[in-house]
């Protein structure tokens, strides 16, 4: 495995874990009450743990990789996020959301090219 492929796999993994983290934050947010303690619910904590895990994979991935390729790859997480939103929360995936996401991904690729 070349170093670039290895870096890409690590960043890819980070994007999947990070988007799952976001889904768990959403699940945990449903258990919030007026009490501050309700923030310490298992789903929310697991979501935060996934975020931390994701940042470890990300840092490991970009350590000796080409940022212009790896940077935009993180935004793949938004694509997985759409998938989880449909699967876990049955959210409507409208044409407008796909168009917006497409533009965002394109934009992030350009920012990556310029980095």
């Amino acid at each position: 495995m070349t170093p670039l492929v290895r870096s890409m796999l690590l960043v890819f993994t980070a994007s999947v874990i990070g988007s799952l983290g976001m889904a768990f934050l959403k699940m945990g947010s449903a258990h919030l009450t007026r009490s501050l303690w309700s923030f310490l619910n298992p789903k929310l904590l697991f979501g935060i743990a996934l975020f931390l895990g994701s940042s470890v994979f990300y840092a490991w991935g970009i350590k000796d990789g080409q940022l212009s390729v790896l940077y935009p790859m993180v935004s793949l997480g938004y694509v997985w996020g759409l998938l989880w939103a449909k699967l876990f929360f049955n959210e409507a995936l409208t044409k407008q959301k796909f168009m917006g996401l497409g533009l965002i991904l394109l934009g992030v690729c350009f920012v990556g090219l310029g980095s």
Partner: protein
């Protein structure tokens, strides 16, 4: 007051949607500030504990990330994940602009086209009528 085009969503739900989007918008600004602070902190990073607890930019950066996560949770409570999550990409816009102004990094056409396209994408996502 309501026009025929906007009756699809009840009023309270529309308000909640706007609050969620505003919360995530705030998150993107705080997130960019956090990244910059962590970058600054890391430039004089030392693994000694005394150096770590006195590394104000690093501590401030991670604290901002913590606050960010709390705001994100509040936003997600009343908002759609498929709508709110991609808006976080605005962070790229703020970090690029901050790197121009504060770090003095040279501007280039790719980055400029990129941040304009991201802003357009977020505008499309957030437009009213997107349930």
């Amino acid at each position: 007051m309501s026009t025929p085009a906007t009756i699809a969503l009840p009023q309270p739900e529309r308000g909640a949607r706007r609050t969620s989007i505003l919360l995530v918008f705030t998150c993107t600004i705080l997130g960019a500030a956090a990244q910059l602070l962590i970058k600054t902190g890391m430039s004089h990073f030392s693994p000694h504990w005394m150096a770590l607890v006195t590394n104000v930019p690093l501590i401030a950066g991670y604290t901002l990330y913590g606050i960010n996560t709390l705001l994100m949770v509040l936003a997600l409570k009343n908002g759609e994940m498929s709508l709110l999550y991609p808006i976080i990409a605005l962070t790229y816009v703020w970090t690029t602009l901050l790197s121009y102004t504060l770090l003095g990094e040279p501007s280039n056409i790719y980055k400029n086209v990129g941040i304009i396209t991201i802003v357009l994408g977020v505008a499309v996502m957030g437009r009213r009528g997107n349930k």
